[in-house]
Amino acid sequence: MTTPLELVCPAGTPAGLRTAVDAGAHSIYCGYRDETNARNFPGLNFDRAEMRDAVAYSHDHGAKILIALNTFMRAGSTDLWKRGVDDAVAAGADALILADVGLVEYARKAHPKQRLHLSVQAAAATPEAIAFYRDRFGISRVVLPRVLTVEEIARLTANAAPCETEVFVFGGLCVMAEGRCMLSSYATGKSPNMTGVCSPPSHVSYREESDALVACVGGFTVERFERGEPAGYPTLCKGRFEAQGAVSHLFEDPVSLNAVELLPRLAEIGVTAFKIEGRQRGRAYISTVVRAFRKAIDAMAVGDKVDFGELRALTEGQRDTTGAYKKAWR
């Protein structure tokens, strides 16, 4: 291994950021408290002053900070996103994570020296797509979609150079190509691309039936939890539906991504950074997950064995998957 692996961790709040830094994150990603970022929930994210403090705290502790402005600019209001870019640069972000190519173009022109990463929301899934952003706009790193197999990631990483690749290894899993999904928009009018939310809590409702709890998104029933069954958050693509007379989790089971066992292979093929999903998660979760992954990465760096048991235990009691990475979707 030539370059050290980078562990990229989420922060939804200033306290969450300090937790992730203290737990050993090499980099933190976070966003402003508005619709410029794809985790636009009430109570999450950073105002301008908090972001400046977050940069200072991260840098004082040797961590980098990556500011995500990864929704698509609203027509007629592009200034909100551009001001976000300007402020993030002024705050001292080590990189900006962008999805909208119009905003990428702005950031490159206005801040020629600023390091730019391409968000997973841009869904660059081929060497040609990566080349588009790298050659025209000097993108330094691309966060790869979760719809790829490890072999495809290997090919992409080899072709992307000198652009680096970053891969999701743990947390929520989009089964649709990221940034190209309007399911939430269709059911609720609020979409990841335009408002930075998916299946938002404001549009989730529950109703009790005699033997079950029924969960709806935008008025559509997406899950029925029998009494005593743990009730997970009803995300549209993880719901149960009826097609051809059969009821199933048609799109994806309610599982989360855990690519722990693939870490050595991903490192071997030259992936630069491992990303943990979950800006909406609590501090205890972040602390545990970040520590475990940092330990694994440090072990790999010196050729020690990785304690996979510890990492697997992180999802104990829940169902997890390696998603598309192991060709299971083919």
């Binding site: 698509f72 600019m73 609203r74 027509a75 007629g76 592009t78 999805a99 909208d100 190519v101 119009g102 702005y106 841009a122 660059a124 899934a125 081929t126 060497p127 040609e128 797509a129 080349a131 588009f132 719809v147 790829l148 495809e152 090919r155 089964v175 649709m176 190509a177 940034g179 190209r180 999904c181 309007m182 399911l183 928009s185 269709y186 059911a187 609720t188 009018g189 979409s191 691309n193 335009m194 935008g218 559509f220 029933t221 997406v222 029925r224 693509c237 149960r240 539906f241 009826e242 097609a243 051809q244 059969a246 009821v247 199933s248 048609l250 799109f251 994806e252 598309a324 979707w329 083919r330």
Partner: protein, 297 residues
């Protein structure tokens, strides 16, 4: 006085049996008052070989019928072969409708049009794509009229998704195969059974979505009939009609008459409603509401 709205027939998004596919385009060539036609497999590369040996004849027939023809390319290419196929189509000299940024990269500035699968949500990104060689751009179907107004101003390049089940998502996984307990790589083309997509209902039996292989669509049929005048005033130059199994020649005629001011939106809506549509008409997205919202007069 605004310019005449043109009509674009989008590519058939479903896996129609070859005879149906050929007959459909022959009839469009001969009878439909549509200005341009996009052909080509956009959803699943496994289906593409089925049309490869007839596509030249279909292009010829459409061009002889006075239609401008565009070759629409794959929306979610991931494999080396899929990208190579797109390169081959570009090399063959067709006018291209790009549906993925990789295709825009391969076009390298050559004039082309952009389909509804590329994320263009604002005037800046639209202007960038025009600089990259786009001459017409079909906007993503979730955009509200308010955004379209801002984006269509002064460029004579904007097309709006005006008829058909709205495309909502793409995945590496095939849901038609998954529903039939099959792997994508050995799917036996089960999607052929769903000519308007496979209807997906909620647990209470409420129709919700439609599955077209790796693509998810809305159950409703999007329509812009109530907004054609507003779109035209905003500077939109073209309406996209996306093929369903209903009488698409009639659909084209309805939109042509409406755009020419020969019928009212109400009459147009009624004319569409009597066709064999796969779902109810909706204009939710255009009104800035959930895309499933039923159309109102």
């Amino acid at each position: 006085m605004t310019a005449r709205l043109s009509l674009t027939l989008g590519p058939v998004l479903y896996n129609w049996p070859k005879p149906r596919w050929v007959d459909f385009y022959n009839r469009i060539a001969d009878e439909a008052p549509v200005d341009r036609v996009c052909i080509g497999e956009v959803v699943c590369s496994k289906r593409k070989p089925f049309i490869d040996d007839v596509i030249l004849d279909v292009v010829d027939r459409l061009e002889r019928g006075g239609k401008e023809v565009f070759y629409a390319t794959l929306a979610l290419p991931t494999t080396k072969r899929e990208v190579r196929d797109i390169g081959d189509i570009i090399q063959a000299g067709y006018m291209i409708e790009a549906n993925d940024i990789a295709t825009v990269h391969l076009l390298n500035g050559r004039p082309h049009v952009v389909g509804p699968f590329i994320n263009i949500y604002n005037e800046d990104t639209l202007a960038l794509h025009l600089k990259l060689g786009a001459t017409r751009i079909c906007l993503p179907p979730e955009l509200p009229l308010e955004s379209i107004r801002t984006m269509a101003k002064g460029n004579q390049a904007v097309e709006v998704f005006a008829f058909g089940r709205p495309p909502l998502a793409l995945s590496a996984r095939c849901y038609a195969a998954r529903q039939a307990n099959m792997a994508k790589d050995s799917c036996q083309f089960v999607c052929e059974a769903h000519s308007d997509g496979m209807d997906v209902c909620t647990l209470d039996g409420v129709p919700f979505l439609a599955v077209n292989g790796i693509q998810t669509q809305g159950y409703v049929v999007s329509t812009a009939v109530n907004h054609v005048a507003a779109l035209s005033e905003a500077g939109v130059v073209s309406l996209r009609l996306s093929p369903q199994t209903c009488d698409m020649v009639r659909v084209v005629e309805v939109y042509r008459d409406l755009a020419d001011g020969n019928t009212t939106p109400k009459e147009a809506g009624e004319a569409l409603a009597v066709l064999h549509l796969p779902g109810p008409l909706s204009d939710g997205f255009l009104r800035g509401l959930p895309g499933c919202t039923a159309e109102v007069d």
